[in-house]
């Protein structure tokens, strides 16, 4: 099978991050891949990705502002005709840098918040970053760049949605991403403390949908469904190694940011002799779950197999030890009880990324 065209490159340029989010979905073993490619390596990846068909690039991390060559990378992506997105915590806030990035062709900035006020950043990111975040978002708006406000939702902040919507409106955001936490990496470690109640979710969804209606044409309100409370799994990455190609800090090419947790697969790194195009087209790990030939029952004969692609491979591996099984988030999975059980195991314990266990 020939490889499909990836439209989006997720350039995860560093794992360094000033925050310590309890819902961070980077693998807890991120330090194994934390060595960072050089500027030239990344420029080569951008050139090759453009040839491969990429038209959208997300600069993300970790905190992409931690790399001082971000400007050069944005400039190159823009020169290759890509739409450039910066996914940032806004920390450290530096107006001159944002101005420089805008001048080099940055199109869109997504700034993360932890809830409706400063206390949320302290509680869920162990950081006093709130004012810097506000300043970053206001600067993005001043510079006439597109602004997305992103909030990862969980038990601790789902009830803050009205305040979050008001915040996004006040900041002049064009998009508000209300993303229910996905349980990878640190978020998986903290699942018992992050899992919401279904009553919370219902209330939040109603508020989000009402805002979506009210703000239509002005602000796009996206409510990313929580897969632990859905009948069917989410269409993870729109299918494995299909529309998205991701490169992590050390140059490993993966289908999603959590994929290195699937230790039964071996992903390859780009190098002077191995391009991202070669890897995309020939890597056995990327081919492993493309299309539907790999699918087990009940996916194989399911009419939704082209809708959700069997769900999330990382979740199947993490919960069931086999990445080739149906995502247990699916109610049709014979192992769905792995999800149902989790909903009944609340805890109050948090593991903060990059902090000693407390």
């Amino acid at each position: 099978m020939s490889a499909p065209r990836p439209y989006t490159l997720i350039a995860e340029i560093t794992y360094r991050c000033p925050l310590h989010c309890v819902y961070c979905s980077n693998p807890t073993s991120y330090k194994d891949h934390a060595s960072e490619m050089s500027t030239d390596d990344w420029l080569r990846v951008l050139d090759q990705a453009a040839k491969l068909g990429v038209v959208q690039t997300h600069f993300t991390g970790g905190e992409p502002l931690a790399r001082s060559d971000l400007e050069a990378l944005v400039e190159r992506a823009h020169a290759r005709g890509m739409y450039t997105n910066l996914v940032t915590s806004g920390v450290p806030f530096d107006r001159a840098r944002l101005e420089g990035l805008a001048a080099r062709g940055l199109d869109h900035v997504q700034v993360s918040f932890q809830g409706d006020g400063a206390e949320s950043s302290r509680s869920f990111a162990d950081s006093d970053a709130w004012d810097q975040k506000l300043a970053a978002a206001r600067t993005v708006h001043d510079l006439d760049l597109a602004l997305t406000v992103n909030v990862v939702l969980h038990r601790g902040n789902l009830d803050q949605i009205p305040g979050v919507i008001a915040l996004a409106e006040d900041l002049g955001a064009e998009r508000l991403e209300l993303a229910n936490v996905q349980f990878h990496g640190f978020a998986y470690e903290n699942r018992g403390a992050l899992l919401p109640t279904s009553e919370q979710l219902d209330r939040a969804r109603d508020v989000a949908l009402a805002a979506k209606e009210r703000l239509r044409g002005k602000m796009d309100v996206l409510f990313v469904k929580p897969d632990h409370f859905s009948t069917y799994p989410r269409a993870c990455m729109d299918g494995w190694a299909r529309r998205f190609v991701q490169v992590i800090p050390d140059g490993t090419v993966v289908p999603c940011h959590a994929a290195t947790t699937i230790t039964s697969l071996s992903f390859e790194r780009v190098s002077a002799s191995r391009s991202i195009e070669d890897i995309w087209e020939t890597s056995p790990a990327l081919a492993a779950f493309r299309g539907d030939a790999w699918m087990p029952d009940p996916c194989r004969t399911c009419e939704r197999k082209s809708v959700d692609f069997g769900g999330c491979r990382c979740q199947a591996f993490a919960l069931l030890g086999d990445a080739a099984l149906t995502d247990p988030a699916c109610s049709l999975s014979p192992h769905h009880d792995a999800i149902a059980r989790a909903r009944e195991e609340p805890s109050r314990h948090f593991l903060f990324r990059g902090r000693p266990n407390r």
């Binding site: 038209v55 597109a146 064009e174 044409g217």
Partner: protein
């Protein structure tokens, strides 16, 4: 709700894709592949023309009946303003 003089939002970029030989409309984290007639409409959404003038310009260029062009323009402009891509 559609603007009287539709204008592509600053956050949206129209580009020609050499691989598929089609226009694409790119916006934050998303993109739309446009067919030829949609691309022709979007190209005229520059804020200097009214919807009626866009219809006139396109009807003059093609053999498509005016009502059909008008319906296409109305539908696309409404769809794109809903997404905040046309102001």
């Amino acid at each position: 709700m559609s603007a009287t003089h539709p204008k592509l939002a600053r956050r949206a970029r129209l580009r020609f894709d050499e691989i598929e030989k089609k226009h694409m409309l790119l916006y934050p984290e998303r993109g739309l592949v446009l067919n030829e007639s949609a691309a022709a409409i979007v190209e005229l959404c520059d804020g200097t023309r009214s919807e009626v003038e866009i219809v006139e310009a396109l009807a003059a260029k093609t053999d498509t009946p005016r009502e059909r062009v008008a319906a296409d323009v109305r539908e696309l402009v409404a769809r794109l303003s809903d997404k905040g891509l046309v102001e």
